[in-house]
């Protein structure tokens, strides 16, 4: 397939005074996992809501699976699966009823529903609980049930809004494994949002970083990271930070400098950490900045995020 799975052009959503999404252009190749990263309130959920035809955009356009989200909403709906950020399950139904009713809404026949439900329940490991009412489920079980529901109709594109929010690490890794498996075996396109850095790092073929409703960086995780520099030298210390920063700025091999005043941390992105370590220490001490601790590391997606949003990820 040559056309993109999802393509948006200047997508905007305004709620009165608030601009939730401020013109997002986005292209997601088929069979890819795309992670939309951003702090709370960045506009991730609103973007997903528009792409899943839940709310109409204020301006701009988008195609999902080749169909326009406003004029061909019905076609889009037939081809997508969605799990919402908040848990959306009827507590009085059993897990099996939830899945069965969902299948009926999509006009799956009885036999289809039966076999798919059996397989999916196995996949998300809910065999024991599936005939109990949803109100007796734990948070992780509800999430897994929702994932099964999103997959029931074998969608071409699956939207997952914060799929692992509030889950313990074990459940989280379990969900990551399903997501990867789905993508590998079925070639399903996935758009997920998250504010967990590792999640994007581990899963995504491509990430988009969104802040204040705008896309601030986009690309493969590895290329976003390498754009920052090969290594990062983390310098903890006290003293005349301004002067230190100024000197760093004059060094030719320094590609980026970030400061976290809160932790008295200066991060220096350089072409080669081990080779430049001594020069960085000299730059610090020669300027009245007392180094307490210093380390060389590879930059992470977290550093990319900090660079583009000015905020660190705090889970």
């Amino acid at each position: 397939m040559a056309t993109a799975a999802i393509e948006t052009h200047g997508l905007v959503k305004r709620y009165g005074e608030v601009t939730a999404v401020a013109g997002v252009d986005l292209t997601i190749a088929p069979h890819n996992i795309y992670a939309l990263l951003g702090p709370n309130g960045a506009g991730k959920t609103t973007t997903i809501s528009m792409l899943t035809t839940l709310v109409p955009p204020t301006a701009g356009s988008a195609q999902v699976a080749g169909y326009d989200i406003t004029s061909q909403a019905r076609q889009v709906r037939r081809r997508i699966g969605v799990t919402f950020q908040d848990i959306v399950l009827d507590p009085d139904l059993t897990g099996r009823q939830v899945l069965d009713i969902h299948g009926k809404l999509y006009r799956m026949n009885r036999q289809e529903r039966k076999t798919r439900i059996t397989r999916l329940v196995e996949l998300v490991q809910l065999e024991e609980a599936i005939d109990r009412r949803v109100k007796t489920y734990s948070g992780g079980m509800k999430r897994r049930l929702e994932l099964a529901r999103g997959l029931l109709t074998d969608p071409q594109i699956l939207f997952l809004d914060e799929p692992t929010q509030g889950l313990d690490p074990q459940n989280r890794i379990g969900i990551w494994n399903y997501i990867r498996e789905l993508n590998r075996e079925r070639g399903m396109t996935l758009l997920l949002t998250t504010h967990y850095m590792e999640e994007a790092e581990v899963l995504a073929h491509a990430v988009g970083i969104i802040d204040h409703g705008k896309m601030v960086a986009e690309g493969k995780p590895a290329s976003l990271v390498s754009a920052l520099g090969a290594d990062v030298i983390r310098v903890h210390g006290h003293g005349d930070q301004q002067h230190f920063l100024h000197t760093l700025g004059t060094l030719p091999f320094v590609e980026q400098v970030q400061i976290d005043e809160h932790d008295n941390l200066v991060q220096v992105f350089v072409d080669n950490g081990n080779r430049r370590l001594v020069e960085v220490v000299q730059a610090a001490s020669g300027n009245g900045f007392r180094v307490e601790d210093i380390a060389v590391a590879q930059p992470s997606l977290g550093d990319v995020f900090l660079r583009h949003t000015g905020r660190t990820f705090r889970d």
Partner: protein, 251 residues
């Protein structure tokens, strides 16, 4: 139509699974008929010279249809506040079916309750009209009435922000609909100004028609016009619900 059926059957499954809800409704019906019927029979004797229980039963049925509709609206509001409507909204079904499914299940419950009340009434000695087709027609009208009122309740539920707000708004026209009607006293004993008011209330027409069709009373308003009013009311209710619902999701 298919999606309407699926949503209807979902609500009915929940209804029968929730033993308290089904049982609660049944007990409520019995209590209403027995308490109202027996209590009032002692006090009121001069009304139409006949059986007061037969006189008041249509009013009780109308009241329970009102209560059922309020419950149906509650269900939509609950699904909206929980976000469950989002599951419907991203699926390839017509928006209208979400409302119709809900209104249909509400109407079904109201009919079941009406049937049960009639049965209890009969067990307590109320005499039905001779023609079973009349009973059927009466039930049909009760169904239409419940549909119309569900529409109003759904419209309110579609725009309410909270459960409190919903009940506050419903309360505003729930009570007048019952008391400003011929449910408790015949039209002929009402002062003229009150009678004019009462004639604007669709409940009045339902009650008059049910009295005639199921219990063989003389219709005071004309069966044909009563049916027309109730039908119009049902259409109006559903239209109102659809308008409010459309507005609530176009955000």
């Amino acid at each position: 139509m298919h999606a309407t059926y699926v949503i209807w059957s979902k609500h009915m499954t929940k209804f029968f699974r929730n033993a308290e809800e089904a049982l609660g409704l049944a007990i409520q019906s019995v209590l209403w008929v027995v308490l109202f019927g027996v209590g009032m029979r002692g006090i009121v004797t001069q009304v139409s010279g006949g059986d007061y229980l037969a006189f008041i039963l249509p009013g009780i049925i109308a009241l329970s249809a009102l209560a059922g509709a309020v419950g149906g609206g509650m269900m939509l509001l609950d699904e909206r506040l929980r976000g469950i409507t989002k599951e419907y909204l991203v699926s390839p079904i017509p928006r209208l079916s979400i409302l119709l499914g809900n209104a249909a299940s509400t109407t079904t419950k109201a009919l079941l309750q009406a049937l049960l009340m009639l049965l209890i009434g009969v067990l307590m000695g109320v005499r039905l009209a001779g023609n079973p087709l009349g009973w059927l027609a009466a039930l049909l009208l009760v169904g239409l009435f419940a549909l119309g009122f569900s529409g109003i309740a759904l419209a309110v539920a579609a725009v309410s922000r909270s459960i409190m707000g919903y009940h506050g708004m419903i309360f505003l026209f729930n009570l007048p609909l019952l008391f400003a009607s011929n449910a408790l006293y015949p039209l002929s004993v009402l002062p003229t100004w009150m009678r004019t008011l009462v004639l604007f209330n669709p409940t009045t027409y339902l009650i008059d028609a049910v009295r005639a069709l199921a219990f063989g009373a003389e219709p005071t308003l004309g069966l044909f016009s009563s049916t027309a009013v109730i039908l119009l009311f049902a259409i109006l209710g559903i239209w109102l619900a659809l308008t409010a619902f459309r507005r609530s999701i176009r955000r």
